[in-house]
């Protein structure tokens, strides 16, 4: 009986091959699926871990006003002043907007922060202080586009930022770009000789994208 079964199997050699291939494919599929499941679990663990590890750093010019957390400015809402309430861009008043610009200026990353990077590799791409400044200036820009009535206060901030010698050069240049745009819309010119040559050169890049 065994012999006749073997004969049958031998006659159907291609079926056996197909079965073997299927078994291998199923095995590999399970292995891969398992890996993907593990990597998703790792992702969840990593994000929890990151939340626990990350703590805000003090990098501001003079953190005189103790505002609520602004480390990661949200896109559409923000926490301002000493109040615990959340304000949307629509709720901002001239006072709260001015308060926000002062907070941003006080918390602005500085050139010193770039000299204290954890490793030289961090300098290679955009270092964290530059990214942080980008988040701050991005938020400000978003507000000014939605609430153009704050432009004057915005220009005051941009002037302070562009003139701040301790500020990161690219950040100063972007502030000068925005200041120049504001002045141009009001038919005014900026005295570029007040700013370092490199800041002016870089601001030109921002003006002519």
């Amino acid at each position: 009986m065994l012999r006749s079964w073997i004969n049958k199997v031998s006659n159907n050699y291609s079926t056996i091959t197909a079965i073997i291939i299927t078994i291998i494919a199923v095995f590999v599929f399970i292995y891969k699926f398992n890996n993907r499941f593990i990597s998703k679990s790792e992702e969840a663990l990593n994000s929890t871990d990151q939340i626990q590890k990350e703590k805000p750093t003090e990098t501001g010019i003079a953190s005189k006003i103790k505002l609520n957390e602004m480390e990661s400015p949200p896109q559409k809402s923000m926490t301002l002043g000493n109040t615990e309430s959340e304000l949307s861009i629509d709720d901002l008043t001239v006072e709260t907007f001015t308060q926000l610009t002062e907070k941003i200026f006080a918390d602005m990353p500085l050139r010193n922060d770039l000299q204290n990077l954890k490793s030289s590799g961090e300098a290679h791409h955009y270092p964290e202080p530059v990214i942080k400044a980008g988040h701050q200036l991005g938020l400000l820009k978003e507000i000014l586009v939605k609430r153009p009535e704050f432009e004057e206060q915005g220009a005051v901030f941009y002037q302070k930022c562009a003139s701040e010698e301790k500020a990161i050069t690219s950040v100063r240049a972007l502030c000068l770009t925005n200041l120049a745009k504001y002045k141009a819309t009001h038919g005014e010119m900026i005295d570029m000789s007040k700013y370092p040559e490199r800041v002016v050169e870089l601001a030109q890049q921002g003006l002519n994208p």
């Binding site: 299927t22 790792e42 896109q75 990077l117 954890k118 030289s120 530059v130 200036l137 991005g138």
Partner: protein, 363 residues
């Protein structure tokens, strides 16, 4: 039954080994990262490139115009494999494919500006703490290592359980790029709220295009090595600048500009961050270098020695406050030096040039 089984196996294997386009990921790259990278590249199609790229920028990129297809080709010409930072260079499966290999321009190497803290291709050289890896061009590093030892290297990149590519490192265009968690960290994103935002893809693509440029060059320009940022620069002492006008930071600036003008779905907030990225990239380009003239005098010579001493001190000092104090002294002495040089009229100002981007080797 036979046919059914074959169809099932075919479908399963196809789902596992489906081609990833032209860029292949090592099996050690987490699938969530692989998916993001491949989607980022696909997203180039969603951008509406203006077609208003300046003639100089087109010449730097070496293309006749900028559109999604051209830029995908540009990238995939220079990036073929992505490996994870859990596969450091000393743990890669390297073989010598040929001893005494005759490299083109065998005796010509790029000038490597020496400073202990300097990553040349974005390597992580730990100082006080190890930082997260964002991205490094390992292919160019391996090519240069092979060239300097006169051996042709071959690296085995595992792509799946049963598949590995043996890659001959016979050109900097081998295009092996190493990525790390830093590329995907929330705090580095333009849009921290929406992980899937187009601006976050743009942020990663800007890094990719920068790294891809390291796959270019030959002889002196091989790998478009970074330069040490000069005294007075925000990143003085770090190997994070370019002493040419068409290196990785210039590519970063050009692409940031293209993305800024082509991203319809980006908010003003995100666009402002891309704009800062563009300016930051440009700030890394050293446009002129002041070199000393002959017989410059005792005072200038002393200042140079003092500056070098403080630079060494910075490299040896882990304390951030002291480093800053030394940097301030360097800045002040450097300003003094520039004045003296200007007065003496002996310094020579050398403008940076465009380097030849044609790749070395056979790929």
């Amino acid at each position: 039954m036979k046919t059914t089984l074959l169809v099932i196996s075919l479908v399963l294997t196809q789902s596992l080994f489906a081609a990833n386009g032209e860029i292949k990921c090592s099996k050690k790259v987490a699938s969530r990262h692989e998916k993001k990278i491949l989607r980022d590249i696909e997203r180039l199609d969603q951008l509406k490139f203006s077609g208003e790229t300046s003639a100089e920028d087109l010449s730097i990129l070496g293309v006749d115009h900028v559109d999604a297809a051209r830029m995908k080709d540009w990238l995939t010409d220079r990036v073929q494999y992505i490996i994870d930072d859990s596969e450091p260079i000393d743990r890669l499966k390297l073989d010598v494919a040929s001893r005494y290999y005759v490299y083109p321009e065998a005796s010509v190497f790029p000038d490597m500006e020496s400073v202990a803290s300097g990553p040349v291709f974005g390597f992580q050289i730990p100082k006080a703490e190890r930082a997260v890896t964002v991205m490094s061009n390992i292919g160019a590093v391996l090519y240069m290592a092979g060239k300097s030892s006169k051996q042709l290297l071959q690296v085995k990149i595992p792509l799946s359980l049963f598949k590995a590519d043996k890659v001959l490192v016979n050109s900097p265009r081998t295009g092996i790029i190493q990525i790390g968690e830093g590329l995907f960290m929330k705090k580095f994103m333009f849009n921290e709220k929406e992980d899937d935002a187009v601006s976050n893809s743009i942020s990663r693509l800007m890094t990719f295009f920068h790294e891809a440029r390291h796959s270019d060059g030959h002889g002196k320009s091989l790998g478009f090595l970074h330069a040490i940022c000069p005294a007075g620069h925000d990143l003085a002492g770090y190997s994070a600048c370019d002493r040419n006008l068409n290196g990785p930071y210039t590519i970063g600036r050009i692409m940031a500009k293209e993305f800024l003008n082509s991203c319809d779905s980006c908010s003003e907030n995100e666009k402002e961050q891309i704009r800062l990225g563009m300016i930051e990239s440009e700030s890394r380009v050293i446009r002129k270098t002041i070199i000393p003239g002959k017989d410059e005098g005792m005072e200038i010579s002393m200042l140079r020695t003092m500056i070098k001493s403080y630079q060494t001190l910075i490299e040896l000092t882990p304390d951030g406050a002291s480093r800053q104090e030394y940097q301030n002294k360097i800045d002040s002495m450097n300003a003094q030096l520039q004045n003296l040089l200007a007065q003496s009229g002996k310094a020579v100002e050398v403008p940076s040039k465009f380097w030849d981007a044609n790749p070395e080797g056979t790929r």
